[in-house]
Symmetry: C2
Subunit: 213 residues, 2 copies
Amino acid sequence: MKKIEYVLPSEIEKRSFEIIERELLEQGIKIPDEQKPVTMRVIHTSADFEYAETMCYSANAIEIAKKLIASGADIVTDTNMAKAGINKKALEKFGGQVHCFMADDDVAAEAKARSVTRATISMERASRLGKPVIFALGNAPTAMISLYEMMEKKEFVPPFVIGVPVGFVNVVAAKELFLHSNVPYIINKGRKGGSNIAAAICNALLYELGVRS
Amino acid sequence: MKKIEYVLPSEIEKRSFEIIERELLEQGIKIPDEQKPVTMRVIHTSADFEYAETMCYSANAIEIAKKLIASGADIVTDTNMAKAGINKKALEKFGGQVHCFMADDDVAAEAKARSVTRATISMERASRLGKPVIFALGNAPTAMISLYEMMEKKEFVPPFVIGVPVGFVNVVAAKELFLHSNVPYIINKGRKGGSNIAAAICNALLYELGVRS
């Protein structure tokens, strides 16, 4: 077998972040200090340095998101994959839970009955949780659009939106809506994103609060 | 609200693939026909055209993987996130199941007792499932290395490896091991990959077999 240096799993992440930091420096990319843990974890999860140029943060986004989590906010995702990737034990320490309503049978039934998308029903359910919610949307532009429509109708204002759907149809436009809103956000401009990116952002915020598991 | 054209969720995927196909053509990238459904779904899930240049397939890889699935093979992942992303209902139609042993309490206990990684224990458990297994590894280079070590010791030969871990430490080297082996594989060379990519490859294979849910 070709010699591969054995690196403890616990050591791999540390070394990875050192490599990311060095390569950002070599590429002359400067990320504001408070955004670094989030953007770097996104690069860590994708090995894609393009995120260093496209991640957008509203004013004091990190601070606002951390305060929400610390005060027990829930997280609502638009895929079970993002839900699976979020460190739920860490969130539970602050009293928060992760929800994904998209694959629930009764959501599908209601969507069909009302001729709307499952994303629309899921966002409506999230708005009725009765506590602050961070939306972590890594898949469905329709979820972001539904959320925006609720704001337009003054039915609901999301406390925080992590907007990183991925794709080729309506994704760029859905993100633009929020870039020009007053909602606190972390958004990746352009086509890229994904459930893994949404989860990575949530975990970076949790780890910034000093919890790992 | 800025006008966003409403596109049915069912229509979004079709349109996305048309856009991907057109842009590959514009960029002069030619993907062999049999590999197209897999590589294009990877691009669809990441919005990253770099995969068109780095995805590697052993001879007849797609055919071999499809035959394994059709004959009831299980899929073993190295994250619960990849497991969450795979269309399990589609796999069940052929008699297969998706497993991820990484987060099991007894796996952690055995890894600790034997001073090895959880990935090593997980791969050992997968090797004892008593039926053909497709390994879909999107996270841990240690899982790929453990699997390779079992081959070297002639303890086990994996029937098929989807090798797409992501990252900066040992990832490139772990993939290289299999690129030079006799095991049938789909591997993304280089640093990129992820749980989402592993799941997308599995789903592309399932959908090529004509099942969607």
